[in-house]
Every structure is written in C-alpha cells, then in structure tokens.
C-alpha cells in the first residue's frame, strides 16, 4: 500500500501539486487529467524521481526517497529515453549490476524476464534497431527484472500503434504486481480498479473508472 500525506510539489516557486492526500492499495490504478495538470509529477513521486516539497510518500512503511526507488519500477512514455545500453541483454543487466548478483543469477533473471514476454529472440539485438513496440517491451522488461513491489507507467502507450498498444496493455494486465498507469487513452483504464483524476495539481475525481471517466469526459465538452 502506498500513501501520500499532504504532499505538495513546487518548482521555481510555482505550485504544481497541492496537498495531495491519498491511500492506494488497489491492484490496477489509472491516472487521468489534462496536459500540464501534474500527472507526470505525481507519478514521479512514487519512486522518488521527484521529491515532495512538503508531505511524505510512504510505501509499506518506507519513506526514504532512495529506498522508494528500490521498490517502485518506472516506465517512461518514450522507451528511447529509458533504454541506456546499446544491446538488449546489456540494458537488462544495467539495474541488476547494482544488486551485485552473481553472473549466472543475473543471466538467469534476464532470460526469465525475456521468456515471460516472448522476447527471447531480442536478447542480443541492438536496442536502437528495435521497433517502437519492441522497445517499450524491453523497457518494461528492464523494470521487471528488478522485481519491484509496484510499477508506475507514465503514458506508456502513446508512441505505440493499435496492435502494440493492445499487446503492451495485455502484458500489463497479466502482471501480478500492482500497477499505476497514467494515460490519456480512457479505453485502457475502463477495467481498472480505481481511477484518479488530477486537475490543476489536485485530485478532482477518485473512484471506480465508470463515474470518474464519465465526469472527466463531460468536463471536456463544455
């Protein structure tokens, strides 16, 4: 369970998130909101990429920013900015290096995560030659190989075509770990357990996807 207590974020004196207080324990949580409403800032608080200016973020008792990072995996919108190594297997090994695992354990974990998503054939490919869909799957694999407690995804499907979007979301749906998905694509969130609507740095709607999404859509039509 992750808990935000009176969390505010300011940048250059501009308030971006204001007094967010929320407890999240559902397995599938969606986040919606207009451009610039503060969704990405909110998402980046989960794993400490962003530090609160005030308030605390607590995941299962852990509040320290660097410790949060250990437990929460983060998938960015653009996999090109997330993949840091030239070869797929090297990239997957990147985070594991910090765990100081023995070599064969590292390799075993990489093979396992690749097998899980049917990506074994990409193991030795150059990352910059992958298709957009393959890249996003590799980015997700790079996060899962760390065995995070939960996973936050910031608009992970915007750069994908219809097919890859379906495939990617099917992979997300199959995960056992709790996930938080920021998305402008309301279709993706319809079957989620809970949806947060962020407006102007505050939570403007919160609950089952049906009513929250309906109100969000209605709000856009005036």
């Amino acid at each position: 369970m992750i808990e935000f207590a009176d969390v505010s974020v300011e940048k250059n004196g501009v308030p971006i998130l204001k007094d967010i207080t929320v407890r999240l324990s559902e397995r599938r949580i969606g986040v919606i909101g207009r451009n610039g409403s503060g969704k990405s800032t909110f998402a980046r608080l989960f794993n400490g990429i962003e530090a609160p200016s005030a308030g605390t973020v607590t995941l299962n008792g852990v509040t320290e920013r660097k410790a949060l990072r250990r437990h929460v995996g983060f998938v960015f919108q653009n996999p090109d900015n997330q993949i840091v190594y030239p070869i797929v297997s090297e990239d997957l090994a990147f985070g594991l290096k910090n765990l100081k695992l023995p070599r064969d354990e590292t390799q075993a974990r990489i093979d396992e995560v690749l097998a899980r998503f049917d990506l074994a054939h990409l193991r030795d490919r150059f990352t910059h030659q992958l298709s957009g869909g393959e890249k996003q799957m590799v980015a997700l694999a790079g996060v899962l190989v760390m065995r995070p407690t939960m996973i936050v995804l910031d608009e992970p499907t915007t750069l994908l075509d219809l097919w890859n979007k379906r495939k990617f979301m099917a992979a997300i749906d199959a995960l056992d770990e709790p996930v938080v998905v920021v998305s402008h694509d309301l279709d993706l969130l319809g079957h989620f357990d809970r949806v947060l609507h962020i407006e102007d740095g505050s939570i403007a709607g919160d609950g089952r996807p049906g009513p929250v999404l309906a109100r969000y859509v209605a709000g856009s039509q005036c």
């Binding site: 980046r44 794993n47 400490g48 990429i49 660097k66 990072r69 250990r70 995996g73 983060f74 960015f76 653009n78 090109d80 900015n81 997330q82 993949i83 840091v84 190594y85 030239p86 090297e90 990147f94 985070g95 290096k97 910090n98 765990l99 150059f126 990352t127 910059h128 030659q129 790079g142 996060v143 760390m146």
Partner: protein, 197 residues
C-alpha cells in the same frame, strides 16, 4: 550498431590484446621522432608493410587510411622542398605516412568493442578516486545515443526543410540541442530510477 573501421581477420595481429598494440604503437611513434632520419623511417616502413601483410590487409586499406591527409601532405612536401630540399621533404612526408599506417594497422585489426572491454577491465584496476561506473556509463550511453541523435538531426532537418530553412544551421542546431538536452534530462531520470546507489 555503429560500424567500426575493423577489417575482419584471424592473424596474430588480430589476436593480440588491444593494450599491447597501443603500447607498441606509442613506442613505435616516439622512436620515429627520437631517432630521426631516413634509416629509421625505412626500417619502420618495412615493419608496417610486414604488419599489413601478416594481418592480410590490402594496399587499398592503406590507401584509404592515408587519403584524408593526402592534400595536406602534398602541401607539406611542397613547402619543405622549397624551404630545405626534396630529400628532407620526402623524409617528413614518408614519416607521416608510416605513422598513419602504423596507427591504421592497430585500428584495422582491433574491434571497437575490444577496446571498450579493454578500457572497462583497465578501470577495475584504477584507484578508488576514478569514477569507474560513470566512465563506463558515459561510454555506453554515447554509443547508444549516437544513432538516436542522428535520427533527431534528420528529423529536424526534414522539419526545417519544410519551412525552407534546411540550409540555416541555427534553425537546425537549436532544436537538435534543446531536444537532446530534454532527452538527457529524462534519460538521467531513467538511469536514476533504474539504479540504486
């Protein structure tokens, strides 16, 4: 990924460790400057030619390596011939050619990845104040992002050519630099969130 200048082969030169080849190259070049004269250039030249033969490299490879310097070498020859004499001019130019070919011999018989591995394993012996992980990360990131930055450049060029600005370097460089800096910011967030130190 990025193609290097390596020429495939299985000669003793190809199999020698990169660090040995680099050390030999440094000794070779310094000697050529310390022991000046036609004699040393001829001996060195013979060594280089033997090296090319042993490595199975063709005259074409030698020519391609020297070609970029050809004009400037011709100019140096002319200046030296005018200032001193033809024999000395020939010596200076011949020394350049031998130096460049010796370097080419190392470059053409060593994969870039072997050098990178060499650098990385040398780093494990480096003293504690050397930021080893960061150096390794910088090299990998650069190799990873060269194709991406090239793609961005091509992208920007097409966008600007639609506005008739494709010969305007400022209009190309500003978006290239700003986009790359933004990318860098997100990449560093990703590196941060994927590592634990």
């Amino acid at each position: 990924m990025l193609t290097d200048l390596y020429v495939f082969g299985d000669s003793p030169l190809h199999r020698t460790r990169p660090v040995v080849k680099i050390t030999a190259l440094v000794v070779f070049c310094s000697t050529l400057f310390i022991v000046e004269g036609w004699a040393s250039v001829l001996v060195a030249g013979a060594l280089v030619v033997t090296g090319f033969a042993v490595a199975g490299l063709k005259p074409r490879h030698a020519f391609v390596s020297v070609r970029p310097a050809l004009w400037i070498l011709a100019a140096i020859f002319a200046v030296q011939a005018y200032l001193t004499d033809v024999v000395f001019a020939g010596f200076v130019v011949a020394r350049f050619v031998v130096l460049i070919l010796a370097a080419a011999l190392v470059t053409l018989t060593t994969r870039t990845s072997e050098f990178v591995d060499g650098i990385l394993s040398a780093l494990t012996y480096a003293p504690a104040w050397v930021p080893k992980e960061q150096i390794a990360l910088a090299i990998s990131l650069c190799l990873r992002f060269i194709p991406l930055v090239r793609a961005v450049l091509e992208d920007v060029r097409q966008a600007q050519s639609a506005r008739g600005l494709d010969r305007n370097l400022t209009a190309l460089l500003v978006p290239l630099v700003v986009r790359t800096l933004k990318t860098a910011d997100e990449v560093s967030q990703a590196v941060y969130s994927r590592s634990f130190d």
